[in-house]
Structure formats: structure tokens, C-alpha cells
Amino acid sequence: MDILTINGVDLTYQSALGETQALKDFSLTVKSGEFVSLVGPSGCGKTTVLSLIAGLISPSSGEILLGGKKTGEKANQVGYMLQRDQLFEWRTILDNVLLGAEIQKKRNSLCEDYAKNLLEKYGLQGFTNRYPRELSGGMRQRVALIRTLVLRPEILLLDEPFSALDFQTRLSVCDDVYSIIKSENKTAILVTHDISEAISMSDRVVVLSARPATVKKIFTLNFGQKTPLLRRESAQFPVSFDEIYKEVKT
């Protein structure tokens, strides 16, 4: 079942410097439970695609259907994970995780239990009442992911969520995030400039062109349910990397 359909979307925005066409005839469909990555030259508008899906900006033309409904009609079906964890230092881990529920006035004992469950399930049981500064970078990113899961979003939008981490941490957090998303059976779209990261996590890798961004080519990967670290060890990995790298370069 297609959970997300982006159909011929154009986006032009105005600024003091002039008119910028960010997206041109952009189309993409994502199936439920799929993990899709967007890669492309920097500044090509990858993040813009996520903002469109989240309904934070509207397309100039074309349509975006999320779960069969136009975005903007039904808010908050998405869970956003950003470059930095953006945890609020003055809130405990539990309160951070429940931020979205609080904003949407849905905080109750039921969703608190769900949040505690998730924290426990993903190795943060002893930290519910701690503060973000007491956690490592990897743990903080896991908290940020759980914060998005608490709202039970239909789709997760990951905007370079690992780029602020050092390489060692990045590999292990990548594995963590992948397995959490898989075990919660979520659909996810990852924006990254790191091709190997895209290959290690996704079912499909979408290569975008330079601005105005359009879908240049889609690579379907066949790693099955292998975790990111195992994928990196497989013989297919460098082959896929070469193919995608060439496509991004040209």
C-alpha cells in the first residue's frame, strides 16, 4: 500500500535575492513500511521535500497525499528527527519524550505508559527521570527518535539525524535507529549527504538532481533485513556505492 504519494510537485519560493525554483515536477511514492533515502548534491532541496511532506510549507503546484489525505488537512501524521537531537535541557527524558503529546494536548497516563515502554524497550529504562546532559550523544539521538514515535506517526522524516555525531557513534546509532524503526514497523524517509549511510539503511535510494531538484534515478537495494553494520560488510555494498556515487556526481 502506498502511504505517501508526491505527484508532480513544483515549488518556487521568493526571497530578497530573487525567485528560487527548489523543486520541479517532483514525483515519488513510498510504500508502507519502506525505508527510503534521498541523496543528492548539497543545497538541492532535500530538506525542502521533508518540509513539504510535513505540511510545513505548501507546494506551488502538484499534490502530496499522505495516508490518502492531502497534507495540511490532517496535521501531525509525521514524526520529525533533526540533525541535532534538540532535546530540551530543562526537561527530564520522560518529559522530553512526551513533548509532542503535550503540544497536541494528548498527554495522559496511557501515552505516558507507552513512552515508558519504548524507553525501556530501547535501553533507556534507568534514565526516565534524568536530564539530557547526563546522556551520551548516541543515547540522546535514541531519545529523539522515541520522542517522534510516541505520537505514533504514519511516517518518520529523518533530516541528516546522524551528521552531528562522531563516526564511531554514528555507526552504532545508525544500527540502533534502523532496528527501532524496523521493530516498530514504521515508514521512514531519510535525507542524507552520506551515500554509504543511505545504502546501509534503505530499501530504496532516490538520487536527486541539482536545483531545481527532480528525481534523477531510483536504486532498489536487495539487502533484505540486514542491519546497517552487516550491510557495510557485504560484497554488494561497494558495488551499490559506486553506482550511486556515479549518479550523484554526474
Binding site: 510535513a54 510545513l56 496535521a75 501531525n76 509525521v78 520529525y80 533533526l82 540533525q83 541535532r84 534538540q86 530540551f88 530543562w90 513533548l99 509532542g100 503535550e102 503540544i103 497536541q104 505520537l151
Partner: protein
């Protein structure tokens, strides 16, 4: 036998010694200053008519407190200062929130804030007296004017400096502007708010005493000015010392509150 110390113990002992040294030197500076002052006046090297002396300050203080009249002066000055401090902090915070809320208002007010910040507020003294009348009201108004601009500018800077990423996150969760203010901007700015409080304690004293110099019939600033006019240097010095102690106490109180608030935020 002498005990052999570990490097850690030697380090800690050194640190402690250093700390004690600073404390002793601090007290020594004060004692030396007072002693020297007393000495040069006692042997007649300098005339107490111009510089007073520690012993004369002490006896003047004893007289003042025995007379009881001083309590009224202290009370009036304290009330003026606390009112100026409290009103400017509250009003300043409200204005800062309003300017954060409306970008138009923020941009329109920007040049005015800059000019008002640069303006020496004492220049407004005559206007204040004409508008609110001489007396306590004028003095509170002076303290208020001195504090308010700094409060607005510092708090607004803190509000505007909130991490864009965090605002984006809240918006992606569907947060309203009001929720962004309550859940993010205000808690984020609390450390800045606490430092504004500390700055305002000092500034409200400046405003109060300046106000009392301009118009007053009571208060420590009045005593200082009065003492100066009738050439009673003992009264000027004694009032100044009392003022120092009060200002230090008020600052310490606010600093203590800040420390307490920080621990629970």
C-alpha cells in the same frame, strides 16, 4: 616522623592555602585602609572636616541609630529601590514578550530602543518631576526608567536567540505560537532572566539615589545631599557606608534567589 603526602593531597592543600590567602588579603585591604584613614586623621595630617574618619563615622552611625530617625530614611530608600526594581522587571519582561511576539513591533521599536538605551536617563529628571510630581513617585520612576530599557533589550535578545531547530521541531509537532513561547522560549531564557535580575539590582540603586539627589525630603540619597550642602562630611560618609551595606545585602539576596532558582529549573 613527617607524614609523606600524595600529590593529590599536596594539590588540595595548595588550593586551600591559596583560597585562604585571598580571603586574608581581602580583609587586610579593608583593615589597612580603615586603619590608615584613622591614623592620618588622628595625627592631624588630614583634616576630618574634609575626609571625616572611621571613628567619627562610627559615632555618627551610633547617634543616627539611637535617634531612630535613620530607620525612616533607610525604609524610604529601600521601598523606592525595591519598587523600581520590581516594576521595571515585570513591565520589561511583558514588553520583551510582546516584541518577541510581533516581528513588526520589534523592527519598529528597534531604533527607539537603541536611542533610549544610549540616552543618560538622568536627563529625563526634570520631565519626570513635571509629569509625576516631586517625591517618592518621581524617584521610583527614575529607577524604573534606568532598569527598563536594559531589561527589554537583554530579554528580547535571549528570546530571539532561541535555537531555530527547536522552534522547527515544535512547529512540526503542530505547536501554536503561544505553545512555542511557553514550552520553549520562556524556559530557554530563564538563565538570562536571572542575570537581568542581578543587573537590575545594581541599576535600581543607581536610579533611586539619582532620583533622591534630584527630588526628595527623605532617604539615604537625601541625607548624602543634605550632608554635603551643610558641609557635614560625617553624615555624608556614614550614609554612604549604610548605602553600601544595603546594596550589598540586596544583591546577595537576589544572587541567592538566582542560585536557588537555577537548581530547580
Amino acid at each position: 616522623m613527617k607524614k609523606i603526602l600524595s600529590p593529590r593531597e599536596i594539590y588540595l592543600r595548595g588550593e586551600k592555602r591559596n583560597k585562604n590567602k585571598i580571603l586574608i588579603l581581602r580583609v587586610a585591604v579593608l583593615v589597612l585602609f580603615v586603619a590608615l584613614w584613622e591614623l592620618v586623621t588622628a595625627i592631624g595630617l588630614v583634616d576630618t572636616f574634609f575626609v571625616s574618619s572611621p571613628s567619627r563615622i562610627f559615632s555618627t552611625a551610633v547617634d543616627l541609630f539611637q535617634g531612630g530617625e535613620i530607620w525612616r530614611h533607610i525604609g524610604i530608600t529601600l521601598i523606592e529601590c525595591i519598587l523600581g526594581f520590581a516594576i521595571s522587571t515585570v513591565v520589561g519582561a511583558v514588553i520583551a514578550v510582546a516584541l518577541w511576539w510581533s516581528e513588526t513591533a520589534r523592527k519598529v521599536s528597534e531604533p527607539y530602543l537603541v536611542v533610549l538605551n544610549a540616552l543618560p536617563k538622568i536627563a529625563l529628571g526634570p520631565i519626570i518631576i513635571i509629569w509625576v510630581g516631586a517625591g517618592v513617585k518621581a524617584i521610583v520612576a527614575m529607577a524604573f526608567l534606568i532598569c527598563i530599557i536594559v531589561t527589554v533589550i537583554s530579554l528580547l535578545n535571549a528570546f530571539v536567540g532561541v535555537d531555530e531547530g527547536k522552534i522547527f521541531l515544535l512547529r512540526s509537532m503542530g505547536a501554536s505560537k503561544w505553545q512555542i513561547l511557553r514550552k520553549l522560549v520562556i524556559p530557554y531564557a530563564i538563565p538570562d532572566f536571572l542575570s537581568v535580575l542581578k543587573i537590575n539590582v545594581g541599576l535600581s540603586w543607581v536610579g533611586t539615589i539619582m532620583g533622591e539627589y534630584l527630588v526628595s525630603s527623605a532617604g539615604l540619597g537625601y541625607l548624602i545631599i543634605y550632608g554635603g550642602q551643610v558641609f557635614q562630611i560625617d553624615l555624608v560618609m556614614t550614609s554612604t557606608v549604610i548605602l553600601c551595606i544595603l546594596a550589598a545585602l540586596m544583591y546577595a539576596t537576589v544572587a541567592l534567589c538566582c542560585k536557588y532558582a537555577k537548581r530547580f529549573s
